[in-house]
């Protein structure tokens, strides 16, 4: 069954279709959030919350599956921003204290991968919101420039420039972290 069909049936509160729609779209939201957030529990909570909120708009705003994707990413981005805002107010639960569970094949590989991931996430936090957003979209979904522009509601040229600056900023942040270690 296509996603459009699933959406149509899910709108009629068909539980099986709702479950299938959730499972089909979950990776999209999860990958996006995982680029922006290191805390695993917070990540899971935010993705779950995004889907619960989707129930309210299913009949109102999600006319096509593209609308629904855009809405999910937009909502996840807002929830991540809210999360960071709360973190900023309560610095005692800083991200550095959290450890990801190993998911590699060997403990060494997993440790190395976790290290890289943590450094990238922490460097990303020094970027502007738009820069984080564009990089997360570009790398989590492997979206084309045009698709990213549509999701961001900007022109393709604007996204090209934003992408360039975001990568440059990330590089600088990584270099600074390397120097500080």
């Amino acid at each position: 069954m296509t996603l459009e069909n699933l959406l149509a049936r899910a709108k009629k509160q068909d539980m099986q279709s709702l479950a299938a729609l959730h499972d089909q779209l979950y990776p999209l939201v999860f990958r996006y959030v995982s680029y922006r957030l290191e805390d695993e529990q917070a990540r899971e909570d935010i993705v779950s919350e995004t889907f619960v909120r989707m129930l309210d708009v299913l009949n109102k705003r999600a006319h096509t599956i593209q609308d629904l994707r855009a809405w999910l990413i937009g909502t996840a981005a807002h929830l991540v921003s809210d999360h960071y805002r709360r973190q900023y107010r309560r610095p005692e639960s800083g991200l550095d204290l959290h450890e990801d569970l190993p998911d590699g094949h060997t403990p060494e590989h997993a440790a190395e991968q976790n290290q890289t991931r943590r450094e990238v996430r922490q460097a990303m936090r020094q970027l502007t919101g738009d820069q984080q957003h564009v990089l997360a979209l570009r790398f989590s979904q492997e979206l084309s420039l045009e698709e990213t522009a549509r999701l961001l509601g900007r022109s393709v040229n604007a996204v090209k420039v934003l992408q360039f600056r975001a990568l440059a900023a990330l590089r600088r942040a990584m270099d600074e972290r390397g120097k500080s270690r």
Partner: protein, 391 residues
Amino acid sequence: MKRPDVNLVLDEALRKLQSGVPLDQVLAECGEYAAELAPLLEAALWMQQSAQPTVPQGGMARSRARFLQTAEANSAKALPFFTRFRWAVNLAVILLVLASALFFTGMGSVSALPGQTLYPVKRAVEQARLALASSDPAGKLLLEENFDGRRVDEVLRLAERGRGQRVNFAGFLSGGGGQPWMVEGILLDLTDAQQSAALSLAGSYVEVQGQVQPDGRVLVSELQLRFFELEGRLAQQNGERWLINGAWVAITAQTQVDLQPAVGQTVKITAIRLSTQDFLALTVRLEDGPEKEQVEGSASAQADTNEDRTSTAESGGSTSETDEPAVELSETPKPGETGEVKETNQSGGDHEEEATRTREPSRTPEQTRTSEPTRTQEPTRTPEPTKTPDK
């Protein structure tokens, strides 16, 4: 030659990198931008390497469970509301249709005449209104007057059209002495026997049953006195005139009074009508007070009288039960002759005489109480003094 856009070159390089082309090769294809883009592409490679390789199934299952639970809770909340709403709308529509049907049928039936399809509806609506007004005796009396007026109006309209129809109406009887007999302007055809009986009823409020003739007159089959039940608080006692429910009731020496009521007590009176606002009491029953139980027996005996006033008049034979049968009935012609005249209660002259007497200041309440208490136990339909003097 125009230089290609560096942003475009970067985007192309990123695409290659994401499709698995090694960084060295990607950089080699960037040409003059290789040096500029190298640090950015390295950062992109880190981004790529830091991707979460798998979607955690546990997290997804927990999210799905919460998602479906919320969806079910929402639909469970929404469904009863919708169902209630739908039922409410259906019910409202049904009630509206019923109310409209009743309203328009009722409205349409107001002008119906006897013999027409909607006439039974009209009478049923009237009965319903009377039943609803049973808690308000004064209002009920007004309603009865109003409906009596309708009956008269119906007969007049039937008479105009010359439609032969069986009718039943009520009003003050007038005529005699060379004048034609009529009730509320409706000319009556009476047999000789009926005419002699009518003489004793002249001026009274009577009920007539008969057939409308092509000439507009009504051929009478039954002519009987209308009895009124007045129940209410005795508002005022002015000698022999009592005010009950806004109507003045004359109490005569012949009125059967169980127990003398005081102002403020509730009484139940069976009366005949002398004029629009004047009644003549035949029996008076106290409905409250300490002696209520005491009069219960007589009350039950009188209840027969009150419950069915027309049968009273019609049951000529039953008068043998009474010690003092209504005189008019003794006047009633033999069944073979004028069986139609079932009721001839009091002569018109008598009414006027009684009414006049009630206004005499010399008459005292004590005199009024002269009626024998034992008589209240008897199923007397009419009081003793209603004996009509022979004329």
